[in-house]
Amino acid sequence: MSSKPKIGVYICHCGINIAKTVDVEELTRYAVKLPNVRVARDYSYMCSDPGQLMIREDIRKNGLNRVVVASCSPRMHELTFRKALVEAGLNPYYLEIANIREHCSWVHKDKQEATAKAKKLLQAAVAKVRFLEPLQEKEVDVEASALIIGGGIAGIQASLDIANAGFKVYLVEKTPSIGGRMSQLDKTFPTLDCSACILTPKMVDAASHPNITLLTYSQVESITGYVGNFQVKVRKKARYVDFSKCTGCGLCAEECRLADRVKSEFNMGIGNRSAIYLPFPQAVPAKYTVDPHSCLFLTRGKCGKSPKCVEACPAGAVDFEQKDEIVEFKTGTVIVATGFDVFDAARKPEYGYSDYDNVLTGLEMERLISSSGPTGGKLVLGKGDGEYVPKEIAFIKCVGSRDKSTGNEYCSRVCCMYTAKLAHLVKDKLPEANVRIYYMDVRAFGKGFEEFYDRVRREGVRYIRGNPSEIFKRNGKLVIMVEDTLTAKPLEDEVDMVVLAVGLEPRRDAREVIDLLRLSQSSDRFFLEAHPKLAPVDTATEGVYLAGCAQGPKDIPDTVAQAKGAASSALVLLSSGKVKVQAQISWVNEATCRGCGYCVEICPYTAIELVSVNKMGHEVNVARVNEALCKGCGACAAGCLSGSVQQKSFMDSQILPQIAALGGKS
């Protein structure tokens, strides 16, 4: 310990948040009597300017060398008070916070008891602060580039913003084209802009931007390193088409032996494509890809005498010798924009999605109604001679959202409006059709939403409040069993077509990304942000940000806004060029470390490794902490049997007095 501790104690009223339940004056009188305490004061808002000034002046005038603030959670204001210490010339890590709000006043009613507990918490903090040691914050350089995972609208927007600011971007997209779900939509609520018309220019911009390296049909294999210095490995899957030669003419696809015989993912299986394909006409890059799962040559080793596509291609671009390629690069930051999957309607068997062709999901309806879709925008069902135009059309909302039985308690936030949009588009194409929407609530919260909902109702779309219990077929018609909960009448509604407004779910392959970056998930299984209000685009891993539906359901405006937020967070890092690394990190006592490697396995940030050292002539393993990687989570310290890893500011020698104080008499 440096010099004899001279402690200042600052007790915050937090308005009445604390003062209502804790007798702060009594607490202050108690604090002055604690060992090594020089001054103790209370104030209405310690975090305010005058509050901080009080601390700074005491440090200067009374020569304080340790500070205890009894206030809210350190998550709220630890940084604020650390700054105050620095401004007064004290090392910021000479600060200890006693949380008497979340841990005390907010959870208790009895003032006397709460005050007694606050005394304990304060006494413990004072006991600990005496043993704190000064820590230095180090800085590391930031690699001036960003990795964006997922090329939906979120990923595209974030890429463009960062690239426009002058930094290099690697945009990695799993499928052959960027665009994501938005490229599958017909029109977009509430303004009814054509989705492709507003998206395609951005896709083209991203592809042609000198600062953006587009890696489509690619997958991130590994990310190691730490904020500012991520080492990325990407697998570019073989497309069996030479990128530099393919002109996108599409002759190969026309000639393919499987032409129009492979289900098109882009069209949600409603339309077909060839084994060599462009996912959709506006795809970027406009280069063809051979689908290894259907191509005859790739699955059976033989396609007629020789592959038709090879023969058809005037540029000689089809190349079955092509192999996967590994691309490696460094980036300073990562944005995860991997989007969503729609709820699998087969998980609600009562709606007959798997049984009846005329029960569709919202996304299928988007394709069916789109002028670039498989029917050219004609709203018809059935095939060939069986083709018919539906007249009675029903939508069912909240399929797979707000439904505990499916494990999805959340609201998917877009289904209300996309249902209204699709209903409007149906009325637009088939003015004679009768359209009704079964709903639980209508959530029209966004800008222009309520107006749009109103407009759709005025167009003759009927909203019936009720959650259908079953759909079955009778005399060639679909029968919806439902209770109209406004009139409390059971209904049997006969219709030609049902559209299920399926909700948004995390990507089914989200695990891959979780494993890459050690992301956390919230209870809805979407990726977890660092703080729901104050850090909605950050993650627990520094330098890794979230954008778009990967973080939770949202519409396009919110997705774009969040993408811009993530880009700006990334840019803060990139443009400063330096990043401070945690100071309260772990430290290994090599003399007692037994080299078991528990800590290495436990560390969620791969920040510890075993290294061989020479101890008096013997080569032995000991653990060593990578100071740039360690986040100071303390998991290693908890796991080490011999107590050889210690987390700075939470060393055994610092927390034992704290625990002892909590246990002892006050």
Partner: protein
């Protein structure tokens, strides 16, 4: 019952190898029923080796406790292997030490000795007060016979072996470079009936049981010292800064000590029973260990000391772990 001649011949051959520096085994003790660890450094030393129902000590402890003396400048450390005789339970200690990188697998040469059960001297001394004359013992057709001063005595195995041997599921070494003798029948069951009587009691009754035991602990630390899994350079029991556990011998500090030791062995204790055997005041530490083994097995489907490649319990995570103990 292994043939002693064969064992000694094997030991001679082993210690003559260039890559072996020492062989750890057992030899008769100086009196009575006692046996001692025996460090064989030359072929002649091997003549004293024995393996009998009296060879209770788990020699694996010496693998990790061996002092690493400073190597003089310019000299090379002796990196030759250590050969070691192990019973079934002892072999699990070697496996666990390897699994948690306490020793390197290639640094040991394991000589497996299938074991039909070790005599619990307390049970024997209840029948025959201790004697100064050296006694020999052997396994014979599921029974144990002893050459006592008054003549030969034969006991059914169940009557005289240690409690740990009655529940033992690994009498045959789980790891061995070479084995002496034939594999023996596995008699122990996978259940935990042996601690049932204690588990059915309520918390007060259990504490009443343990309070008395813990209270009598002398804090001699024999249990820790003998344990093959306790090989920290600086044990929490001796740490001064901070002193998690005070040195004073009283119910509070004793309890803290016993709990710390138990927690440090969760998922690591391989049930060799040495701690209980050496405790001078007969604290039934095996009950505590068996409870740990049970919890670890039921909660995490984990058994320590059977697979040297397995990740230690504390560092492994399986998404399908029960976790029903988390509130």
């Amino acid at each position: 019952m292994p043939d002693l001649e064969k064992l000694r011949a094997l030991a001679k051959e082993t210690i003559s190898r260039d890559d072996i520096k020492c062989l750890i085994g057992w030899r008769p003790g100086t009196y009575g029923y006692r046996t001692s660890p025996h460090f064989v450094r030359s072929p002649e030393d091997a003549d004293q080796l024995i393996f009998s129902p009296l060879c209770s000590s788990n020699l694996a402890t010496y693998l990790t406790l061996a002092e690493k003396r400073p190597v003089p400048r310019g000299a090379q450390p002796d990196t030759r292997k250590v050969a070691i005789l192990v019973k079934g339970c002892d072999s699990r200690a070697v496996v666990q030490q390897v699994a948690e990188q306490g020793i390197k697998r290639e640094a040991v040469y394991v000589i497996g000795c299938p074991c039909e059960g070790i005599i619990d001297l307390r049970k024997l001394e209840d029948k025959y007060p201790h004697t100064l004359e050296r006694v020999e013992a052997r396994w014979e057709n599921g029974k144990i016979s002893l050459d006592l001063p008054g003549g030969r005595a034969v006991f059914p195995r169940e009557e005289i072996v240690a409690g740990k041997c009655l529940t033992c599921r690994y009498p045959n070494p789980v790891i061995a470079d070479v084995t002496v003798g034939e594999d023996v029948e596995v008699r122990g069951s996978a259940g935990f009936e042996d601690i049932n009587w204690l588990e059915v009691k309520n918390a007060q009754e259990r504490w009443a049981f343990w309070r008395d035991k813990v209270n009598s602990c002398l804090r001699c630390y024999s249990c820790r010292n003998v344990c093959p899994m306790c090989y920290c350079e600086e044990c929490i029991l001796e740490k001064q800064n901070p002193a998690w556990i005070q040195r004073s011998v009283n119910i509070s500090e004793n309890t803290a000590f016993q709990l710390a030791r138990a927690f440090h062995l969760a998922g690591r204790c391989i049930e060799c029973g040495e701690c209980e055997r050496v405790c001078p005041v007969e604290i039934p530490l095996t009950h505590l260990n068996r409870k740990l083994v049970k919890e670890v097995s039921e909660q995490f489907a984990f058994t320590p000391g059977v697979d040297p490649e397995a990740k230690p319990l504390l560092v492994g995570y399986r998404p399908n772990d029960k976790e029903d103990f988390i509130l």
